[in-house]
């Protein structure tokens, strides 16, 4: 099973590496990271913090954008182009195929994020800004967030078109970043129904804000170990549940 999943994953990575869209987004991210040096120079105060804010936000935004744009076509494209016909005629289950596609895209995104992070680290070194534990924590949780976002995009890709899937996945990402605020607002409202509804939303939607340690990294704030491993555990469980749902949907599909 592992070798079949790896074969699909490797090929997915190879396809992504040879994709033009991905290079375009990747190039923009690198430009923005480098441009953060110029933007930081415009400011008179807290140049180093602004540089880090822009750099970290660029890495996160572009990584998530690539995850959504490539992820939503992950399965749909295979069905639409009928490449899935020959692949699923081999001794490979639909679950293995979907898992392979997922692992391949997550691996590619981690590699790309790694390159962006290396460029960002180079920029920090040029400005003599030290890399701290907060940076490492932020990058680790970015990797977890990407795994969750790709799982969500894969789920939508398993049953709908890329256009709708990108709207759904994008919507979930935005809502997932606001779900904590929603829950807190609900709690403050004093209305029981609103409290229960916002608490339920917080439970169902991914709490993506828990993966964002950009502020801690940029400000050099201390990060507890539990701030990393708890969200990591949560992210892994969330992605696994979403993937089980995606496999279940994909298993039921007829390829007309």
């Amino acid at each position: 099973m592992i070798s079949r999943v790896f074969t699909i994953a490797w090929n997915t990575g190879r396809e992504a590496v040879r994709s033009k869209l991905l290079y375009t987004l990747f190039f923009f991210a690198l430009v923005l990271i480098c441009a953060s040096m110029i933007l930081a120079n415009i400011s008179y105060v807290e140049r180093n913090r602004i540089l880090q804010d822009i750099g970290l936000a660029s890495i996160r935004f572009f990584s998530v954008a690539i995850a959504i744009f490539v992820g939503v076509g992950l399965i749909h494209k295979e069905v639409e182009r009928r490449t899935v016909y020959t692949i699923l005629s081999k001794p490979l289950s639909r679950g293995e195929f979907l898992l392979g596609k997922y692992v391949g895209l997550v691996g590619t995104l981690w590699l790309q994020a790694g390159i962006m992070i290396a460029v960002f680290a180079g920029v920090l070194l040029l400005r003599e800004i030290p890399l701290e534990a907060g940076h490492a924590a932020a990058f680790s949780l970015l990797a977890v967030e990407l795994a969750v976002v790709v799982a969500i995009a894969t789920l939508f890709s398993a049953f709908t078109t890329p256009m709708l899937a990108s709207l759904f996945a994008g919507g979930v990402w935005i809502a997932g970043n606001l779900t904590r605020n929603l829950r807190d607002m609900g709690a403050d409202s004093g209305i029981e129904v609103v409290q229960q509804a916002t608490a339920l939303l917080h439970r169902v939607l991914p709490d993506l804000a828990s993966f964002n340690l950009s502020i801690e990294a940029a400000h050099g704030l201390p990060v507890a170990a539990s701030d990393v491993w708890l969200p990591t555990l949560y992210g892994a469980a969330y992605a696994a549940i979403v993937l089980v749902g995606a496999v279940s949907v994909f298993e039921r599909r007829d390829f007309k």
Partner: protein, 325 residues
């Protein structure tokens, strides 16, 4: 295959309903079809477009789930996956990852099919030579012609040396040379002892390569049997052309003599069993018709195919008429 040996492919009472759109209405595309394929034969699954050939093949490949009925390959239910290491499949108008080269795509499929690492390189080279693509092996698939893609499709179906191969319209869209090449490849598969299941609507190809055929029309199997029986055997028939036949007599002749009727200008052509020609002529002449010609008819696959389609059309017209009345 020995008489008692189990069939390689068995389809029993397969029904498939599709739900067009989001409504509750269902459209039945396969009406309880049954047939089997024997070891070592080239089996032609023949039918007009929309008859249900590809749906049947997709059910066999596990790409579509049947509504009811059972299908098995090599004794395994088609819902299983492990037995697929003995099965090869070429879909209609295959599409492959065009960012890969011919060699890369075959390696990809070989790995998925569990070809041992030690044999992989040699097997891929062997297949590329087998389908005549050694020189184009390192070119990206997006630069391949349709014929080359069809050949790489056949190579991927065979890369793991399966014992049964399913081909969906393998000669469709190919020029005469390409069709001849694919036909030769299929005959080579049989000479290597493989079982070949071929979906097609090109009857001349079926006549040339298939040992047995099944004809499907509107989701129902109309004929199943050996190709040579269709071509040489069967009941001898004749085409009788009559002029001035009253319409009511034509209808009764069609019914009484199980003749297939076709109107040609002011004449009527009836295809009827040879032994029924004399009584039919007597009845026609009594009704005032003039005999234009009587021609013995050689049964061909095409005629069986066309008559099945016509019968189906007539059956549906009758059903429509009854519904209206």
């Amino acid at each position: 295959m020995s008489a008692g040996a189990p069939p390689i492919v068995r389809i029993q009472g397969i029904v498939k309903d599709f739900r067009p759109g989001l409504g509750l209405r269902r459209r039945r595309v396969l009406h309880g079809i049954s047939f089997s394929v024997r070891e070592g034969e080239i089996f032609g699954f023949v039918g007009p477009n929309g008859a249900g050939k590809t749906t049947t093949l997709k059910i066999l490949m596990g790409l579509i789930r049947p509504t009811s009925g059972a299908a098995s390959i090599l004794g395994h239910d088609v819902g299983e996956t492990s037995f697929r290491r003995h099965v090869g499949f070429l879909p209609e108008n295959p599409y492959f990852y065009d960012f890969l080269t011919g060699r890369e795509i075959l390696r990809f499929y070989a790995r998925l099919s569990g070809v041992p690492r030690a044999r992989l390189r040699a097997r891929v080279d062997e297949l590329l030579a087998w389908v005549g693509l050694t020189r184009a092996a390192d070119a990206r698939l997006r630069t391949y012609s349709k014929g080359m893609l069809q050949r790489i499709g056949i190579a991927q179906a065979l890369v793991h040396d399966p014992s049964v191969v399913f081909l969906d319209e393998p000669m469709s869209g190919l020029d005469p040379i390409g069709r001849k090449e694919v036909r030769d490849l299929i005959l080579r598969l049989r000479s290597e002892g493989k079982t070949v299941f071929m979906n097609t609507h090109i009857l001349s190809d079926v006549e040339m390569v298939c040992d047995r055929v099944a004809i499907i029309v509107s989701g129902r199997i109309r004929f199943e049997g050996a190709t040579h029986e269709f071509l040489a055997g069967g009941e001898p028939e004749a085409d009788v052309v009559l002029a001035g036949l009253p319409p009511e007599t034509a209808a009764s002749l069609e019914e009484d003599f199980r003749a297939r009727l076709r109107g040609v200008a002011e004449r009527i052509e009836l295809r009827v069993a040879e032994k029924l020609v004399n009584p039919l002529l007597r009845a026609a002449i009594t009704a005032g018709a003039e005999v234009v010609s009587v021609t013995p008819h050689r049964m061909s696959l095409e005629s069986i195919f066309l008559s099945a389609v016509e019968e189906d059309r007539a059956r549906r017209n009758r059903a429509g008429g009854e519904e209206r009345t």
